[in-house]
Amino acid sequence: MDKPLTRNIKPDLAPVTLAEYRRSGGYEGLKKAVTAMAPAEAVATVKEANLRGRGGAGFPTGVKWSLVPQAAGQKYVVVNADEMEPGTFKDRLLMEGDPHQLIEGIAIAAYAIGADTAYIFLRGEYTLAARRLEQALQEARDASLLGRNILGAEFHLDIHLHTSAGRYICGEETALLNSLEGKRANPRTKPPYPQTSGLWGRPTVVNNVETVCNVPHILREGADWYRGLSRSQDAGTKLFGVSGRVKKPGLWELPMGTPIRELIEDCAGGMQEGYTLRGFLPGGASTDFLLPEHLDLAMDFDSLQRAGSRLGTGTMIVLDDATCPVRIVLNLERFFTQESCGWCTPCRDGLPWVVEILEGILAGRGRPEDLDRLEKLAWLMGPGHTFCALAPGAAEPLQSALKYFREDFERYLPVSPALSLRGEEHRVPLLEGERRAAGG
């Protein structure tokens, strides 16, 4: 099975050097692009390959590139390396393990859209990735793979590494642009989209790290080859991860469309002894829960969407039977509450309310109408109701937990309000796994 994204990555995760990268065919894709293809051809190839964004939204990358106006002028490529979605740990591997793959992908993207400057927007905590990227960038500059007249072509590019200072919202591509401009990372109005008005108002393509890492291979091996890697209509391979109480949490490159079961049972070795699977967030914290009955779904954009969730970042979080779904939702909602940029009302004031209700429920102060209130809050924070996708993402695990795990919420509700008035404690029935853990 061909694993283009990770084939160079060493078992000890030491970075692939420039020499090693070139030996394995590195920078051939860039060479092909700048010496044998017009920029529009490079865009067309990526379009034909049907590469879709790996950051969560799944927008076709070639289409995104083709929306950049062709007129000359300052344009930018920006790489979204602000990996911060809880449960997501894929871009780190690509940047630490094979930084040149990313650099080559950026160079091709820049050539395709006519940019001479690119920025890698890296989250501040990824210090090892920062060191390795800086080193690789220097290697590339020294080898004239960056700079002026790259590979002898009429193509100039420099790439700057920009390290951020925290905040999940920076992963939203327009918030990222504001942050890159040195401002508060509030998302921007869309339209205009970054392709027409992005960084410093100039046409800009913002792509996720993994997305960009696919590009060199597509250019080198062709669109047909790339589409053939997949097991579904979504092309290529994808980094899939599993975390939680599985035997072997980890990250694997697999064909797009690999069934979830293979991922959890084969790759991750199934659940740890003594735990059973209750559900999972298939693509990070901002995706809807799915259940064991969904294990045979293909991991691709459309299959998961049809099942009521999203592929997201493709890194799944597994819920076991000893972890209370209410508490996991509280953890997630606290995260989103804390990371709300404070710009729009449903997110800024709705999320703290969700947390307040969940805390109340867990503290035995819940009321039957609280669950309806949570459902309404999830609706209020839904897509189109807020300024950006942060709160709709926060609503996804909440609304699906209410749908699939309603009895878990209900078990915390006092049987009768009078009970608490009399000072009697409501005894919360234990989950199966909790009972086991308590030795009962």
Binding site: E85, G87, H162, S164, G182, R184
Partner: protein, 166 residues
């Protein structure tokens, strides 16, 4: 860092030079605002009002605007922190696998709660969102170092080592 009168210099020449170098990567120097604050932190651990005003002046921003930026981002410290900041991940995968237990252990061992600094000024304990090490949960960072697969014993060993070095 201090002049003869013990009055803190808001920005040393070398800090200013680093900030100017960072600003050269952007068409607008104010884009280096966050980087500039990080440079100050690298030298002084945190950003005081004086430092902030000096950086603002250097980048052509008002103090209010720069502080608006500084207080947006969680890795910019506007209050003193210890020599090393312990960031323990409290996001979902780590939480599921015992992050809270790890946090309690660190607190007990160092005698500090969240947001507090040890009496010797060595460590500050702060939560952090997902460190992208979910396959090695629970995880934490101390300074620039990432540690995964934590348990009480490994935390003890790490804290001992970190306390001894640098």
């Amino acid at each position: 860092m201090d002049d003869k009168n013990n009055k803190p210099i808001p920005l040393t020449e070398s800090e200013a030079a680093e900030i100017r170098a960072a600003a050269s990567h952007y068409p607008d120097p104010s884009a280096a605002s966050i980087e500039a604050l990080k440079i100050v932190q690298k030298h002084r651990r945190w950003v005081s009002d004086n430092n902030l005003q000096a950086v603002a002046e250097l980048l052509g921003l008002s103090a209010a605007e720069l502080d608006g930026i500084a207080t947006f981002y969680n890795l910019i410290y506007r209050k003193p922190v210890g020599e090393k900041v312990i960031h323990y991940c409290d996001s979902v995968s780590c939480w599921m696998l015992g992050a809270e237990r790890i946090r309690e252990h660190i607190s007990k061992r160092l005698g500090i709660g969240l947001g507090e600094t040890t009496a010797d000024g060595r460590f500050t304990l702060l939560p952090i969102v997902c460190l992208g090490a979910c396959d090695r949960a629970p995880a934490m960072m101390i300074g620039d170092e990432l540690y995964g697969d934590l348990d009480e014993a490994s935390v003890d060993a790490i804290l001992t080592r970190e306390d001894r070095h640098g």
